[in-house]
């Protein structure tokens, strides 16, 4: 067993490297990912080692990245596309939704689309407009796509490799504000399945669900709640589509209460779907309605206001209080 302490960013870098070593058909495409190593340095050093045919600095054209990835996938390649920031995925949205997501069904399975779309997502870095978005619901709503959101270095390291090896197109969401946070990664271990949620803190009073950057926030809230004698169970969903809610149902049947946390606006966000499913499955166990904590239904604000826009420890605890108040 070989355990290393890695940041999420470095874990992704090593995961990409290993995926490229394992399969010569894997190639990376994106803006500034070659010499520069990406604006977040996730692909640092990879072009030097794998060449510019496999680590491709593309023209500045996101639809072009995804559209050519489709053709490369048809030719047997496994393109890993980096979208530089969440807000820049929309020029590629047409290709993702009308082509990448549908070609497997259109072709009755003759044309698999093993494409990974890496997107640094979410806010909290003091950025200008279009650099802090949480677009996961658009993709989770689209049949044919799968959506993963990692929260730890270990999941980043293993998840990117699993996503690349997977036969279906995957939107791989990276919590950009957590890129520099460290954790233990067993680089020779056996990873958990990609499409599985995970209980990351046991508790009895309220079930709190999160994914990506909000997992840490939820854990901080659980710690604070514990100091006040309240026991929160925190589940890292890890996969946004398909959702793995069996562990959630088990938890909610015990706690009777459920709070879903994400940065994305609450209206028709993942929390809405989860609330509906939890209500269907756990109706007789619920002591309170499923509550959602998320962004407001506004455009993502200027950075001086983002701390008030984003869910934080206090807003999670506020929702926990409201849940317990029913």
């Amino acid at each position: 067993m070989s355990t290393e302490t890695l940041t999420i960013g470095k874990a992704l870098n090593l995961g990409l490297r290993r995926a490229m070593e394992d399969d010569a058909k894997v190639l990376l495409m994106g803006e500034d990912i070659g010499k520069l190593g990406g604006v977040f340095r996730i692909t640092d050093g990879l072009q030097k080692d794998f060449g510019d045919d496999r680590v491709v600095d593309t023209p500045l054209a996101e639809a072009g990245i995804l559209g050519t990835a489709v053709g490369l996938a048809m030719r047997g390649y496994r393109p890993v596309c980096e979208i530089q920031f969440d807000g820049f995925v929309f020029p590629a949205y047409n290709q993702i939704v009308t082509q990448v997501a549908k070609i497997h069904a259109r072709s009755k399975g003759r044309l698999p689309m093993p494409i990974v779309i890496r997107i640094p997502f979410g806010g909290g870095i003091g950025a200008v407009e279009h650099h802090s978005e949480s677009p996961e619901a658009y993709f989770a709503h689209t049949a044919g796509l799968k959506v993963v959101a990692v929260s730890t270095p270990s999941d980043a390291y293993w998840g990117i490799q699993q996503a690349i090896a997977h036969p279906d197109p995957i939107v791989f969401l990276e919590p950009k504000r957590r890129y520099w946070e460290k954790g233990q990664v067993d680089v020779d271990g056996t990873p958990d399945p990609l499409f599985a949620s995970r209980v990351v803190r046991g508790g009895d009073d309220v079930t709190v669900l999160a994914y990506g950057p909000m997992v840490k926030t939820a854990l901080q809230a659980a710690q604070a709640a514990a100091e006040e004698g309240r026991s929160l169970e925190v589940i890292d969903l890890r996969t946004v589509s398909p959702l793995d809610l069996a562990p959630v149902y088990d938890s909610v049947r015990r706690t009777g209460r459920c709070v879903v946390v994400h940065e994305a606006p609450v209206t028709l966000g993942l929390g809405s779907e989860i609330a509906a499913r939890v209500t269907e499955e756990c109706f007789h166990s619920l002591e309170a309605p499923v509550l959602r904590v998320g962004g407001y239904d506004t455009p993502y604000p200027p950075s001086k206001l983002e701390e008030e826009y984003l869910p934080d420890l206090d807003r999670v605890l506020d929702a926990v209080d409201r849940s317990l108040g029913f």
Binding site: G64, G67, M74, P91, Q99, R106, P167, F195, P242
Partner: protein, 378 residues
């Protein structure tokens, strides 16, 4: 007979070019005049045997017969819709016959003539327009991708596939089909940029049929479309799209250049959509009957027939034989379309993913159980 096609100062060598909305058409490559006279071009020669000429005629005639039958079937309620290729047979057959077996074509939704040249069973195209599936042919085996309905999206797929060919050191190329309207799409412009930047072995084959449904070409471009290529840094050529020989020669040359590593070419096949955009369209609302009449004089099939007849390459018996073969084909298409089984409802779940999700398994079971609940009812 006209020698206009041999000079680059030609103003109006093609039918319709003097229509009110069309500017002069310079630099048109033509090897067969509208009257059926074989002419030479300084840059494009074509060696075709008499047998090949007869086969090209057969392709054109059978594709048109298929198209006529499909339109009739739609009118009789047997197809949901049909996108007719009437008038564009030469552009499609010429381009399709220029492809090598290992090349890959990326069609729009109107390339029935190219499908024919790739050996796609017409019934696999009919099943799409009947609503049975999204196209039943095997894109890998035929070298002919599935139809792409979102305008221009396939040009990027063709470019990416060509980048794959480069990485595989394959001596093949891709042929990306698009229309005049598609040239306004951002994705098409991205494809041209990518193809140029990576010198990808892709040929862009634009059938300028003068209309994007109802909107004429002037609303898409202030310059002749083939001239756009210069701005992207690769050759553009305008070919008489109703001249199957010129299309074949120009496309062959462009594909050969692509395979040899010389990068992309943009071909503008100057043609005319003689029918409606689809069976849901009414072209009398946006164009004059006189314009159509002018283009009918330059029909792509009539001109090859005139050439074959006049030169003695084909006789009346040959043409009668093709007509009979066309009728047989039409009958087979009609019968096959009418006999096409409706798909099973559960099929909608079966290919969404390569690795099925638990949620879709659940929804499929629910679907089956729901429908089973009606069993035994009237």
């Amino acid at each position: 007979m006209s020698t206009l096609s041999q000079t680059t100062e030609v103003v109006d060598p093609v039918p319709g070019a003097d229509a009110p909305h069309l500017p002069g058409q310079p630099d048109l490559v033509q090897l067969l005049t509208p009257e059926g006279e074989r002419v030479e071009h300084p840059d494009y020669s074509l060696d075709v045997s008499d047998e090949e000429l007869r086969q090209l005629y057969r392709d054109l005639a059978l594709v048109r017969r298929w198209d006529v039958e499909a339109t009739a079937l739609q009118r009789q309620g047997e197809l949901g819709i049909w996108a007719s290729l009437l008038g564009q047979e030469a552009a499609q057959v010429g381009a399709g016959r220029a492809l090598a077996a290992d090349d890959m074509a990326f069609p729009t939704y109107r390339e029935h003539g190219v499908a024919w040249t790739r050996g796609v069973d017409p019934l696999h195209v009919m099943s799409l327009f009947r609503g049975v599936d999204q196209g039943g042919w095997d894109p890998v085996a035929t070298g002919f991708n599935l139809y792409t309905v979102v305008i221009g999206a396939q040009t990027l797929h063709a470019t990416g596939y060509a980048m794959g060919l480069q990485r595989d050191s394959a001596e093949s190329a891709t042929l990306a089909f698009l229309g005049d309207g598609a040239t306004s799409q951002g994705e098409v412009n991205e494809a041209l940029i990518w193809a140029a930047t990576f010198s990808a072995p892709v040929v862009f084959f634009c059938q300028n049929n003068q209309y994007a449904i109802s909107v004429p070409i002037e609303r898409q471009s202030r310059v002749p479309l083939y001239q756009r290529a210069a701005g992207f840094g690769f050759p553009g050529v305008r070919v008489d799209g109703n001249d199957v020989l010129a299309v074949l020669a120009v496309t062959r040359a462009a594909l050969a250049a692509a395979r040899e590593g010389q990068g992309p070419t943009f071909i503008e096949a100057f043609t005319y959509r003689m029918g409606a955009h689809t069976t849901s369209d009414d072209p009398t609302r946006y164009r004059l009957a006189s314009e159509l009449e002018e283009w009918k004089l330059r029909d792509p099939i009539a001109r090859l027939k005139a050439h074959l007849s006049r030169s003695g390459i084909a006789d009346a018996a040959f043409f009668a034989g093709i007509e009979a073969e066309g009728d047989e084909l039409a009958a087979r298409i009609r019968r096959g379309t009418l006999e096409m089984a409706d798909p099973a409802g559960t099929e909608i779940f079966d290919h969404v993913y390569a690795e099925q999700t638990p949620e879709l398994v659940r929804q499929r079971e629910e679907f089956v159980a729901y429908h089973a609940s009606f069993e035994g009812e009237q």
